[in-house]
């Protein structure tokens, strides 16, 4: 079934625990966390540094496996996806935004966006057109041929967002997307993510310690020491 038609939440976690067994000292990064993110919804995972937000995001994206519990993506248990299936899921339906943008510094803004479109085999002309449109929509069309080193932090994050939604992502995962931005830029970016969740009917999960983001979130979940301590709408 196509994800657009799939009923229920885009991402669903039930009593998920992740324990890292480094050097014989098991550490629970995430404990018994349950959450859901539906289409057109922006969910904020709020918590201090080390509270397990990033681990939770990697679990949601299928990048790591839970020690226990169940994670469903687009209505299907992640355990049922093959490695190739998860890879094409990330290429076709999931987008990522990182705190430090993680643009490839040897590529221009347009190339940074275009490269992900190659993962799902789009033609060159289609890739170029899509990239041009996206950069224009995000107000950074003039930066297309500029390299990341010649951009401001806010511009970089916009390019990163363009890259994240280039594949028409149904699930957008953002790890501290405002962490490296000044207040005004941070507000712009989070407003943009919120707008994307509505306009594109995408589920957006944002992990952050920035309390200012609460006003943009449809739901806020608080994490502390790997556990969900509260949830509010």
């Amino acid at each position: 079934m196509n994800g657009l038609d799939a009923p229920g939440p885009v991402a669903r976690l039930e009593k998920v625990t992740k324990i890292f067994d480094g050097s014989g000292h098991p550490t629970a990064a995430v404990r018994d966390v349950s959450l859901e993110a539906g289409r057109g919804e922006m969910v904020l995972l709020l918590g201090p540094s080390g509270s397990g937000k990033t681990t939770l995001l990697t679990l949601i994206a299928g990048l790591t496996k839970p020690t226990s519990g169940c994670i469903s993506l687009f209505g299907k248990n992640v355990e049922e996806y093959t490695a190739a299936g998860l890879q094409s899921l990330r290429a076709d339906r999931i987008g990522f935004v990182f705190q430090t943008f993680l643009l490839i510094d040897s590529l221009t803004a347009a190339e940074n966006v275009e490269i992900v479109l190659r993962f799902n085999g789009r033609r060159r002309a289609e890739r170029a057109e899509r990239t041009r449109t996206l950069l224009g929509e995000l107000g950074i069309g003039h930066l297309a041929r500029r390299f990341p080193r010649a951009m401001s932090q806010g511009e970089k994050q916009r390019v990163a967002i363009a890259r994240a939604i280039a594949n028409d992502a149904e699930l957008l995962i953002a790890d501290e997307p405002t962490g490296s931005l000044e207040t005004r830029q941070a507000v712009d970016i989070i407003a943009l993510l919120h707008a994307l969740s509505k306009v594109r009917n995408a589920a957006v999960i944002v992990a952050s310690h920035d309390l200012r983001l609460r006003e943009f979130a449809d739901r806020t979940l608080r994490l502390q020491d790997g556990m969900m301590v509260s949830g509010c709408s």
């Binding site: 994206a61 890879q87 990330r90 290429a91 990182f98 040897s106 590529l107 490269i115 993962f119 890259r163």
Partner: protein
């Protein structure tokens, strides 16, 4: 784009790598060219002397590394054998030519010019020797010792005039020189001797009966047809030269592959965060492999182009410094080396690609 950009981001490293690989390619091209030159030069004498039979002492299967002496009676008996039209004795000797303080060793070939067999395969200048005080020198030898046509040289206390310069007579370690058979025999002081006899059959008579006659009547002699004798000499030349060539070529190939693997691996390690990001964003492994393979093939191609640009002038310089080096390059050789280098590029990328598997998604979040 990414593949090219990352290579260009470290220009010095890239130039050094391309330079190193290009030198390996030049080495391989040069060895092949020298081999081809030696292969041609060593057996051109035999190939160009189109005769029906080469008669030598048994067990002397070739003239490069075989010892054969035929007596006057044996030579006469061969000439008398039924079906023989021409029997041309040839005497090979190792000797030295002197001019001032320059001394060079030659493979002196005494032949009978009037019979038209056993002489130089090609003359680039002059004519064959007719008199006993005349000599034809190999072109590389003449160039090395700066001997000019018309000059006089000393050969074992005898003075000879250079009347011709030959090509196809450079066997790399030694070069042929041609004198009359009478002069060569006179040098060793034993009349009537020859190393071998070149035989042409009467038109219409096969070589089989002549060969049988020689085997039956002249005990201790063997008659080889042209094809067999050429193959014997080629085999002998290869057995002495090819192992060395292969060893150096293989070392060159290993160095080339190692340099390229190292560059690609270092590139991956330096850019491991980029690869982790791409993996996280959903890049198929094949896409990442493709980038590494593209880099490998790009470097290999540019290195080959650089090598070809350097090769021909370099050969000219080497041939000027060491005229006995007779490098012959063909399109096939060059194509073969380029194909081999591209294959080595692929092999290098396979080594480097293994590192991609050890780059984890979580590195993007670190």
């Amino acid at each position: 784009m990414y593949a090219v950009r990352t290579l260009r981001s470290q220009p010095v490293r890239l130039i050094l790598t391309i330079g190193g690989i290009a030198l390996c390619v030049v080495l391989m091209l040069f060895l092949l060219a020298v081999y081809r030159g030696v292969a041609d030069g060593s057996v051109d004498y035999i190939r160009q002397n189109q005769v029906d039979l080469w008669v030598l002492q048994k067990n002397a299967t070739n003239i490069l590394r075989g010892s054969s002496l035929l007596s006057m009676d044996q030579i006469a008996a061969i000439a008398r054998a039924p079906g023989v039209r021409t029997a041309a004795p040839v005497l090979f000797l190792l000797s030295t030519i002197r001019k001032g303080d320059k001394v060079g060793t030659i493979f002196l070939t005494g032949f009978e010019p009037e019979k038209g067999l056993g002489g130089p395969p090609r003359l680039v200048w002059g004519r064959v020797p007719h008199a006993d005080d005349e000599i034809v020198l190999d072109r590389s030898f003449a160039r090395k010792f700066d001997f000019q046509g018309g000059e006089e040289v000393d050969l074992q206390e005898r003075r000879l005039k250079i009347v011709g310069i030959s090509s196809g007579t450079n066997a790399f370690v030694i070069q042929y020189a041609f004198v009359t058979l009478r002069f060569a025999r006179d040098l060793i002081g034993v009349p009537g001797l020859a190393t071998c006899v070149l035989v042409n059959a009467e038109p219409g008579s096969g070589i089989g009966p002549i060969r049988e006659e020689i085997r039956d009547v002249l005990e201790g002699l063997e008659a080889y047809d042209q094809e067999t004798f050429l193959a014997n000499n080629v085999r002998e030349m290869r057995s002495g030269f090819l192992p060395l060539l292969y060893t150096v070529a293989v070392i060159g190939a290993i160095v080339l592959t190692a340099i390229l693997s190292l560059l690609l691996s270092v590139n991956i390690l330096e850019r491991r965060k980029d690869f982790a990001i791409l993996k996280t964003l959903g890049s198929p492994l094949a896409f990442l492999w493709g980038m590494v393979i593209k880099q490998a093939l790009l470097i290999a191609s540019v290195s080959c182009a650089t090598a070809l640009f350097l090769f021909f002038p370099l050969v000219q310089v080497i041939e000027r410094i060491s005229p006995e080096v007779d490098a012959v390059s063909t399109g096939g050789q060059i194509g073969g080396v380029v194909a081999a280098v591209l294959l080595m590029g692929l092999a290098s990328s396979c080594v480097a690609i293994r590192r991609l598997r050890r780059i984890y998604y979580l590195e993007a979040f670190a």
